[in-house]
Symmetry: D2
Subunit: 459 residues, 4 copies
Amino acid sequence: MRTLIKNGTVVTAVDTWTGDVLVEGERVVQLGSRLDVPVDRTIDATGKYVLPGGIDVHTHLDMPFGGSTSADDFSSGTIAAAFGGTTSIVDFAIQYKGQTLHHAWETWMRKAQGKAVIDYGFHMIVTDLNEQTEAEMDGLVKEGVSSFKLFMAYPGVFMMDDATIFRALLRTGENGGTICMHAENGGVIDVLVQRALKQGHKAPKYHALTRPARAEAEATHRAIALAEMADVPIYIVHLSAAEALEQVTAARDRGIPAYAETCPQYLFLSYDNYEEPGFEGAKYVMSPPLRPKAQQDLLWRGISGNDLQVISTDHCPFCMKEQKEIGRDDFSKIPNGAPGIETRMSLVFDGGVTKKRISLNRFVEVTSTSPAKIFGMYPRKGTIAPGSDADLVVFDPLRETVLAAKTLHMKVDYNPYEGRRVKGAADLVMSRGKVIVDGGKFTGRAGDGVFLRRSGRSL
Amino acid sequence: MRTLIKNGTVVTAVDTWTGDVLVEGERVVQLGSRLDVPVDRTIDATGKYVLPGGIDVHTHLDMPFGGSTSADDFSSGTIAAAFGGTTSIVDFAIQYKGQTLHHAWETWMRKAQGKAVIDYGFHMIVTDLNEQTEAEMDGLVKEGVSSFKLFMAYPGVFMMDDATIFRALLRTGENGGTICMHAENGGVIDVLVQRALKQGHKAPKYHALTRPARAEAEATHRAIALAEMADVPIYIVHLSAAEALEQVTAARDRGIPAYAETCPQYLFLSYDNYEEPGFEGAKYVMSPPLRPKAQQDLLWRGISGNDLQVISTDHCPFCMKEQKEIGRDDFSKIPNGAPGIETRMSLVFDGGVTKKRISLNRFVEVTSTSPAKIFGMYPRKGTIAPGSDADLVVFDPLRETVLAAKTLHMKVDYNPYEGRRVKGAADLVMSRGKVIVDGGKFTGRAGDGVFLRRSGRSL
Amino acid sequence: MRTLIKNGTVVTAVDTWTGDVLVEGERVVQLGSRLDVPVDRTIDATGKYVLPGGIDVHTHLDMPFGGSTSADDFSSGTIAAAFGGTTSIVDFAIQYKGQTLHHAWETWMRKAQGKAVIDYGFHMIVTDLNEQTEAEMDGLVKEGVSSFKLFMAYPGVFMMDDATIFRALLRTGENGGTICMHAENGGVIDVLVQRALKQGHKAPKYHALTRPARAEAEATHRAIALAEMADVPIYIVHLSAAEALEQVTAARDRGIPAYAETCPQYLFLSYDNYEEPGFEGAKYVMSPPLRPKAQQDLLWRGISGNDLQVISTDHCPFCMKEQKEIGRDDFSKIPNGAPGIETRMSLVFDGGVTKKRISLNRFVEVTSTSPAKIFGMYPRKGTIAPGSDADLVVFDPLRETVLAAKTLHMKVDYNPYEGRRVKGAADLVMSRGKVIVDGGKFTGRAGDGVFLRRSGRSL
Amino acid sequence: MRTLIKNGTVVTAVDTWTGDVLVEGERVVQLGSRLDVPVDRTIDATGKYVLPGGIDVHTHLDMPFGGSTSADDFSSGTIAAAFGGTTSIVDFAIQYKGQTLHHAWETWMRKAQGKAVIDYGFHMIVTDLNEQTEAEMDGLVKEGVSSFKLFMAYPGVFMMDDATIFRALLRTGENGGTICMHAENGGVIDVLVQRALKQGHKAPKYHALTRPARAEAEATHRAIALAEMADVPIYIVHLSAAEALEQVTAARDRGIPAYAETCPQYLFLSYDNYEEPGFEGAKYVMSPPLRPKAQQDLLWRGISGNDLQVISTDHCPFCMKEQKEIGRDDFSKIPNGAPGIETRMSLVFDGGVTKKRISLNRFVEVTSTSPAKIFGMYPRKGTIAPGSDADLVVFDPLRETVLAAKTLHMKVDYNPYEGRRVKGAADLVMSRGKVIVDGGKFTGRAGDGVFLRRSGRSL
């Protein structure tokens, strides 16, 4: 099966050129000015961008949470991703206390198998690190689960103390894995939450008011310091606060290999959303919380200046009905998270490229190339080059859409960007050589996505 | 009883003038150009400095440590202090797990009573913070024990987690107390120590090599961040590393009320001392450890620029024989600490004023005035002004002495500065109007020192 | 003549104590708890502060400016200063191109003699530096004119190029003088002014809009760099922008002896004043200009943290009528400057001490002690100690006044703080032992002020 | 004419893949996994890298200097460049006072025409900016001379004052040109040079000792501040000092579009070279001078962290004999400059990639892609993509060479790296589709290089 994508503006993290891309089987095989070869299908990309498929390295599909489960499973979630122009995800498998890491991995493999329509990998959330599970880490890296997420927040649930974190970091120095960190000081937050509740503060906005930016900045600084002492790189997930970004910038200025991602919600939403009337603020309850609007520009600066390398989504949707409303009388009980897997590419393109905050190449870099490189998927994923997987998006930079829960494909009863008009959308999406979205129709098949055996860090 | 100190160069943290100081009873009552009043005793201070008595806010006298006890009790320790020109100390009372704070206070009061020859106060080391002990903190502040020391190091012994530290900080926001912090990341250090021992590294220098400067800088940053979130000042004890100082400087540049002390050992000794032959390095085993020599200049800059406000001693002597040698085959068992209560004023005067690193007024400020103000002893202590306690030192800026364990008065069988020649020494020392050291003789009396009921913070 | 000031709260840059101050002739001779000596006059200071007289090191009295002259001469100006609690000034003598420095000095001596009611010194404004005038600098330092002001602004009038500034700095390394710098990039400003005028922008606010904060920050950085290369201290006058303060802070953090003053106008007024209707904005036309209101807090932080050491006034009044209005149709022709010599102490006390931004001691330090020390007037001026000049202010911390051109004593037809209510005012002012202001009446005599022969820098 | 480069490891600034590159005429037309097309010539690149040709944006060929001329003209210089793997240069045309910019351009066009063997563009050195030459700038940008170099050093020769620099910067805001800045404070340096000569300091090392790093840092800060106020990007040439890099880093952290290049001499040589015996130090006399060895690591960090975007050479060779020796008795007369055009790629590959300081992609970026993008040559130059010029280098990463004046092709009688062994060398070099270096032989033709009409900035 050969497909020729003709006459598009092909964009990578560094190049922009107009011409043709030849796909054979699952791979890109030729790039050229005017390729003249017999093919099975020709796709005309005139006036469109041909982009490497988006890679979302922070999703929570089918994730159990306090008796409930995040609203998208690997079927609805990956279909939504595909519609948005994303062709690979890295989700999180959770080790629960007392379990082995392999048990967690297998559990999550089962969630994905037969459902995922795009390729998927896993980070391993480690909650119980002992001699045995430390040894398991080595094996997982070899088997393609090469990154591990630790928490400095959620005491009693996920939080690890510094000694344990440090041991995990040292271990990656030996096995080549990467530590991803949820950087918020959970101890402080817990005290503030208890105090707020005691004072009768129950509304959603107290979720934000009990999670100060300084608590994120502190944990970010600490995470980097621990990594520096262990002499390994570190990756900060969902960085939200300018104060935290300052820590990353300062470390990088000193030459420390600290990496960080942010998410569209921190670029387009703000604390003001918590002040929406009634219980509406619950839509935006996530951790870290949304920050003051003035910080958005500082995050964009971090993106353009490469102090933030990745934009992922932290997609973790809960419906308002029956899920978010659990916390109607107690903000601390509101399930944390919001949908985003489908809207990332359009939001970032619109806010970044259209609004001239970042270049087109940088857009590709933060949504695809850097995540692929950082998490061991490159060169199979993350670029358009001979030999790479044919994960390709024909993207119309001018097509405008209005974001709305009703028309989006995520299975959640609201959208945090409801009504927002964005310019730039995926017209056609190809996963390993097969067209899975075309002209607003899903043309793929559940189960066609395969597990991504990722290599160790190349940070 | 009236005493006239005539014709000295009177020095405070801001002024330098030549003239007379009249003492009546325990107080300074007049300062003047040529006081002509009938007195009981006249002391000629021509060519000498008249300084406010030194205040050492970090001492560990008669402190139990692993079956042993620090070598100086409140008798020998305060006599040594007096010889060195120090007329007030603040020692540490230790709450052990399960005990009340008051029990600790009473225990330490008994250690001092009848022995101390100069005035003394206590910081309370809190190791067990629960609702009851939190409530006790309020009472202690009112009773004059207005500062509390917490540890971020020594897991399983003194170390507190961030939530507990944060609760203590919040409490001082209400009761006006001050939190003093031992800022080293104990979790990281513990892992490094275990690893070093496992690798067969037993020598004293591994004490330093397992306590990286970054572990101190991280904890310093965290302590300040926690205080910032609690909206209270904080005081970092025995800051040793330039990296930690950078954190204090950065916080102060942002207007955060962060304070810090360093100690002479960090200004005059260095990592090189751990490389002394045989077991000699044990003399310098203290926490934080000595740092590279190049950092000394950076600490002096911190002192001159007021990013370090206080020079205290962390006096905590253990003899080489029978005490330090416990750790001959395992550096982690060496009792932590070194003597310093007697040598502080001369060392800092010589290294600071004589070597032109700081002004004479700044010398008075860091050794007496700032500690008095920060820890609620001012204006009774820390200056020479009408109404202040007559804690006075006639100091000869030109007299040279050679530091040696044999001639010093501390009860410890070595001195870390053995053989060092210093310029500047106390000739005569007066405590609340009574001369207690004169011409190399101790003329005071055990038990004449009184408990200093300190007011809450004036930071 | 002996005067006893009884029972006041005596305040220095470090001490606060209640008691008596004995003045004999021109000097303070005794300080005491209850002085019981025969005196000619007793002043009851119960409930009042007794402060060292204010020192204003930046005034422009009787200064020629484009055919006009600043509105206060040494008579009206120093009387106004006295009413405000200021007992010493350092004014600026201007060397015009082709003249010797001594000629300038003599000219300004004549302006002051027989008129000044408080003591005065001079900084020398150097505009023409050649071999001869460089040599003159050495002599002036010896004669008590130990500081020199250079300009990085006003090309063609005062501005010096970097090579000349550097030569002047090097010279002070040899002769002990101090360079004071007007730090704004005059080249940039000139281009912006010309461009604005060409675009038809004539209103007063364009004065501010053509003098960007970055132009001040740049020049501040450059001035400090030149001083660092010359290995001498430097003093930045009238710092107005937070961006410039950042440069001073960064240099001081590196240990560079950089000093800076700010003025009340930058603490209490802001860019918004330029937006006042009609030509009112002209009242605030000064250089550097007023900055955005949000910067005020940052300047206060600089003051409390000692990155700004001095608050002076840059008193340089021009009447709206006939003077400011020269620039009605061209902002660049508005005489630069505003009145402030009389209101400094009350404004800073109210905004600083009453509003709890700085301590009472720090208030004394920035308005009196630091200027005295930096500019070679200490210990004669700047403190209350035996032997110091009896320049004293009995200051009522509770008395409220409303600032108004009509009731103030400066000879200018408007006041930039018109209508502002301030708490804290000088009740009685003594200059070298003589009461010159008492209960709202001037009791001094023109010509009683003497020239202050200042020593070289003690920075 | 079609050429196929087969089976190489093709490297761009972001991608690394193994396969084939098809060249047709002057352009790259296809990239593919196994291209199977009829061609005129096949080049086997198995085991080699296929790189975009190097771009050196800082050369001084055939440059008059004080009666002498730089040793390489556009013939020998570009041949040497080609041997080193560089296929494009941007040289400097100098406007002398009183001349038009076009006159300068034409003069330099004549120097290059008929001689250059690779493509060349020009930056315009502006020394005389008036209304007419400002207007000329606009035209030059349109004609492809889109960058202008200004000097903050060399007073009386090249140095411009800040007002003039600012006007030039403002102009580029309108015409899309780019200002390149030689950032050293010439005023300070001039005073230091005169002082050194007066003190009898004549040796080459005084060249360095009279050009302090702080003078470079100051000018760098100033240049960026001027650009910030003009709201345009700026490009700092030949950055040498860590202190200057700090300024660039700080500006970029604030989001300011400041760019900078460094040169191999600052990465591989150091101040120590000036201490070589006799007059040997003259070999290294260039401006800015070589800095302390410890700074090399900081510059590498700047390169890897993208605070330095470009490595150029500042190739400006003068023979020791008859040229450098002019300054035998006066360091200030030594012609400034050193050879480097031929050794750049091997040095940077060896020190960067082989020594693992930067990635292979980053090597391509700093030596080719970024210079092309910054200076308006992309996508014609700087990458390997369909449609780009076939400027290609087959580079052997393992071949070792020993650098020596004798075997290198630059026309200068010494080499600053004489005897240094480097790993990595160009085997074959293609310029616009024609092989010009092959197996150590030059196969090109004088005059085949064409003038590069560059577009305006894309910074």
